[in-house]
Symmetry: C2
Subunit: 343 residues, 2 copies
């Protein structure tokens, strides 16, 4: 199992990425290939006393940043570490790819350099979010701002396969459609049509889920168009942020509250960990023909380590093959020559 | 100033509604007319030692519940307290209307019994939400699941007028368009077109706002289609709920944390108050030709009292007239005989 890691993606590259790779190699039975400016990677490792044992280095001279247009990954920035990593992944030089770099560039690069699974109409970014009882998957979280109902059905299949195989306990993941109420008739045209498709999909479809119940684990896989999913994700982040900011402020009020803060401090850590999605290793980009994991731009070494573990899991659990099989019957209608699903 | 109040709306009717009315009459210079089963109102007041001084009672034999179809307010339930209250409002027997009853029935009833302001294409429910630095308005929060760009422009005008006149300090409210990023080009077709309209609207338009920044008061008026607005509202509620649930759990861990809870308890109340939207009196239903306030279904007396105060403010501050003037120029294009705006 070999995971290709973009050494120059995210805010803390390359140091935290190298550290994370070293941690992953030490902790899991996994090989890592770091992609990026080789000289800088080797120098950074040496200066920080990090061993590169078990880690290959693939040279890539350029870096794509947040300020670059996503499509530049195919043009001006085609020699960046992310593009090089994706090409190596496509060529079979690794089993999975991890990056903390630009989401837009990743979606563009993965779609054109690695390609989508045959029959998948759009790749979707599917982060694991912190629910009260454990993580749930949000698909799509923003890759596809405007969606057709058939896309939501594919998202549901892809998310269900991932959550059942990689995160689940074997029971089929509960799939819910994000909506403005739980009644079957809620929402607009997109929701009505997607609901009908999901109803007869054979998935463990629990119906419409309200955004209010989603953080309380109303479903394991929450399906939404990218616009709605993105609003949900950012509202959750923004709200948790102001609530925690207010709790912190409260603890700083006076001596009494400062004492209280000291008393709860050991437990606050557990709570923060629970709310911290980096534990789950980031977001799979589902629908692409090889395993790709996007980890948060501000990822530190431990988040990178987790992402490498999850990427290896993603590759090992046959998710891509299952998705290919699940989308094949749908593809059949449009392309009659396609073979029937094998499962 | 006379506020008509639906005595049989919400989970705590009629007792908490009567209490709230009595508090409002005592605290503000306002007359209240309670609508509902007169005999039950009078008996409840008597049994609970509540004075009905300054409170008129308008008899309405029926009640519309959450289980009733919204459109039943015009048919089977046309004699319910909400319908009767709206008819009295339309007839000029009061200056504003407050209900804690079914939102769907209210929108239907207000639209058909009170009518929209001439030129307004759809009424919008616009709750005041708890931002870190104070309340902001969300318009629309779910009345209109599918919207055209021109509707969002009208929502922006209506929200801006309300926030500037009723909640503001005289400076024009900052209007933002809910979107998946702050760049001008973000979002789908609806957002692109609405952005262009807002840009040349003459409003204090601050551009696209990300859901992450909205709870941190990125704008005073956040404009969204009803689907997106509803997802935002419920995500905020659901997230605040699980974060606070976890904080509470943390405090209950052991003796140390229970001691900490005692130390911060006096301050927790202030924080809860800050996050409690009922302080702001509920949500105006904007676009209707008379002031209508929807307060939360679980409203207790103090929330009802606040809603009555806000309803009186709404009526006093010339919001309806301003909205009528603001939408008139738009209407002109379609109806050339319309008069120019007078402001």
């Amino acid at each position: 199992m070999r995971v290709i890691v973009d050494a120059f993606g995210g805010d803390n590259a390359p140091l935290e990425i190298i550290k994370g790779a070293a941690l992953a190699v030490a902790e899991y039975k996994v090989e890592v290939a770091l992609v990026g400016r080789e000289e800088e990677i080797r120098r950074t490792a040496q200066e920080n006393g990090l061993s590169l044992e078990g880690i290959a280095v693939i040279d890539a001279p350029d870096v794509i940043g947040m300020e670059d247009e996503p499509k530049s990954i195919l043009k001006e920035k085609k020699n960046c570490s992310m593009a090089e990593g994706l090409r190596r992944l496509a060529a079979g030089e690794g089993d999975a790819f991890v990056t903390a770099g630009s989401t837009g560039a990743l979606i563009m690069g993965a779609t054109f350099l690695v390609k989508r699974i045959k029959g998948v109409s759009r790749a979707a970014l599917a982060p694991l979010m912190p629910g009260d009882k454990g993580p749930f998957m949000l698909i799509d979280s923003g890759a596809n701002v405007e969606c057709r109902p058939e896309m939501l059905l594919q998202f549901a299949h892809m998310g269900s396969i991932y959550m059942t195989r990689v995160m689940g306990d074997g029971r089929p993941a509960r799939v819910g459609l994000m909506n403005v109420g739980t009644e079957d008739t809620k929402g607009g045209e997109l929701q009505h049509e997607a609901f009908a498709l999901l109803k007869k999909s054979g998935l463990n479809f629990v119906g419409n889920v309200e955004a209010r119940d989603v953080p309380d684990n109303a479903a394991d896989v929450v399906v939404a168009d990218g616009f709605t999913g993105n609003v949900f994700l950012k509202t959750m982040e923004g709200t948790a942020d102001i609530v925690m900011r207010n709790v912190k402020r409260l603890f700083l009020t006076d001596l009494r509250t400062k004492l209280a803060a000291l008393l709860v401090k050991p437990y606050l850590k557990d709570f923060k960990k629970k709310m911290d999605t980096s534990e789950y290793g980031g977001a799979p980009l589902l629908g692409v023909s090889r395993p790709v994991i996007k980890t948060h731009g501000n990822s530190k070494a431990s988040a990178v380590k987790n992402a490498i573990r999850v990427a290896a899991d993603f590759a090992q659990k046959g998710v891509i093959e299952q998705i290919a099989a699940a989308v094949r019957p749908q593809e059949k209608a449009a392309e009659p020559e396609a073979e029937p699903a094998e499962d």
